[in-house]
Symmetry: C2
Subunit: 357 residues, 2 copies
């Protein structure tokens, strides 16, 4: 049977600890070249909606050690609203019932069979958190205890869960330009983590004097600047533009998620304004030599150094997600779903065929 799983199922089955552990294991496989990842691609065409584009995004990964392959697909109506001085990349829930569209398909690399189909949202959030959590584990000071975070959205909670899984965190400060949103986020997250998250009124109040500064925004402009760096800090981001170039240059040790500098963009030639917006975030990575900067997987595999001294300034840019991460998290979710009988079962024959294609 092929399983249809929901975000609720994934939320129930996949803990941050699970995801950190499986990624730590299989990043070694990736670094050794035994696991493979196909770079994310974005097909972008005009949308009938004003100022919007249609984006069909995909990424693949295979982990022979776990016997699994994954394809992750997002089918999004994308907009680029400007809020304050920052431009953000925001998806419109245009599917029936006002919903978003992102899917993960899991396959057995032993038999080829489709194992499961599930929405990508919860898994996406946990795997981003887990990657940045692993970066904290290898790059932040052992005694790091204070965290400041910029952003109070969907990704911010997972970033905090992850950092608390790898360090004994005592204080957390949070800033978002939408203060009411930030307050609600702080309240909810404090309850979940059992550590007070304090909403503050300016970005420097959040990240100006902490051991670990985390960015978790939708911004395509920079949000973290060099003036907030101090000896021993670890700065973490979930996308290329968040950390200003001068701050990146200041780091003693820079680690990225993958050597690929950006997604493969396949863009219709009649796509107007949005293309500029789409490129803006990525262009902020132009000062970085992605090919020669060590990756998180290389650090975990011992091929590149992690933090070497307490006073070092370290920086992790989660520059691009990997289909490989969905294979890893998917392997855990699929195993646990089978063990616990979670999910809708559909006949595998619906998703296989008797003809040699």
């Amino acid at each position: 049977m092929t399983l249809i799983l929901s975000n609720q199922d994934v939320e129930q089955l996949l803990t941050m600890r699970d995801c950190i552990d499986v990624l730590e294991d299989v990043y070694v496989e990736l670094s050794e070249g035994r696991g493979v990842n196909r770079r994310r691609s974005d097909c972008l065409v005009p949308s009938p909606r004003r100022g919007a584009a249609y984006s069909l995004k995909s990424m693949d990964g295979v982990i022979p050690k776990l016997g699994i392959g994954a394809v992750r697909i997002d089918s999004d109506i994308v907009t680029w609203p400007v809020e304050g001085s920052n431009m953000r990349r925001v998806k419109v829930p245009a599917a029936p019932n006002g919903r978003y569209v992102g899917l993960v398909l899991l396959f057995s690399s032993h038999s080829g069979e489709p194992l499961a189909i599930l929405p990508d949202g919860v898994m996406q959030r946990i795997r981003v958190g887990a990657a940045n959590g692993l970066a904290v584990k290898y790059l932040a000071r052992e005694d790091a205890a204070s965290v400041g975070i910029l952003g109070s959205g969907w990704q911010a909670g997972a970033q905090l869960t992850a950092v608390c899984a790898v360090r004994k965190i005592k204080t957390i400060r949070c800033f978002s330009p939408r203060h009411d949103h930030c307050e609600a986020f702080a309240r909810d997250t404090s309850a979940v983590l059992g550590i007070e998250v304090k909403p503050v009124r300016s970005p420097e109040d959040a990240v100006g004097a902490v051991d670990i500064a985390m960015c978790a925004t939708n911004s395509v402009d920079s949000v973290f600047f060099e003036r907030w760096m101090r000896p021993g800090i670890h700065v973490s981001s979930i996308k290329v533009p968040e950390i200003d170039r001068a701050a990146v240059k200041r780091a003693d040790r820079l680690v990225i998620h993958t050597h690929d500098d950006k997604p493969l963009h396949v863009v219709a030639n009649n796509l107007a304004v949005p293309e500029t917006a789409e490129n803006k975030g990525w262009s902020l990575g132009e000062g970085i030599d992605f090919a020669s900067t060590p990756t998180l997987a290389e650090v975990i595999a011992g091929k590149a150094p992690g933090r070497r001294a307490d006073h070092e300034v370290t920086c992790f840019i989660n520059n691009l997600g990997l289909g490989y991460q969905f294979a890893a998290a998917g392997a855990v979710v699929y195993r646990k779903a089978r063990e616990s009988g979670v999910g809708h079962e559909l006949p595998t024959d619906w998703f296989t065929q008797d003809v040699h294609p």
Copy 2:
């Protein structure tokens, strides 16, 4: 509702005529850059089976004119058996019930919603036939009436259906090294087409004196050679290695399917023998300047010439399939399925989500 369709549904809903017509229309969009295609990628890793590999293949395309996007995925156990002097690429039906795994996912480019999920086999066959049929339409002589085909497998029937849809064909000769298979194929296909397909004992008997020579094999070695070319012939292939380089050079007019010279291969570094086999077929394309050779879409759009004179030797290499073709054929299948109430309906909410991923 999201539709689950079967190969039988596609067989019933998608005619060769439909597929030729929709591709002819949307290849213009592709050539003009309003439609987009993301090049096929193959992730290849070792398989526990001896001499086999696991291949996770994907390709995407979006056609705004039809409001549709498609992702096509194949999850295959691949082997490279040698039969006679030819090496072939053969998939093993290792999924439950001895089945193959290939899927097409269709999305609305207006709302993002998942419209349908279906196996790729029948659609794959028809779209390959339709592309080569369109090449015959634009490149073969108007009065072409005799066809010779090399191969008697799954693709060969669609090639013959397609050529008969665009030219008044009177005679068809077929060769395959497996003569009993060839005879059965000839019998079945004669009945379907209403034109006698004559099985012959050598490749030159099949293609040595015809107006249109078609290759439809799994071979990763060449099967059609220069000595069989004569003035006015159109030679057609469904993959790069089939037509020998000297024969390709001899053509007055060479047209390819896409400027991409090969799939993006992402290969595990511990994959041994099969990688050489995998590269063999593609390496035979090395003498061709794929970037500057006109594509079928450019010929259809009038940006590159088709046949200019009766004596010209023309050649079409269907060098690489496009996710775009699955979007085109998928748009037809989805519309007709909706009109006729075909397919299993599943709640679209199973494949969408309320979180911004």
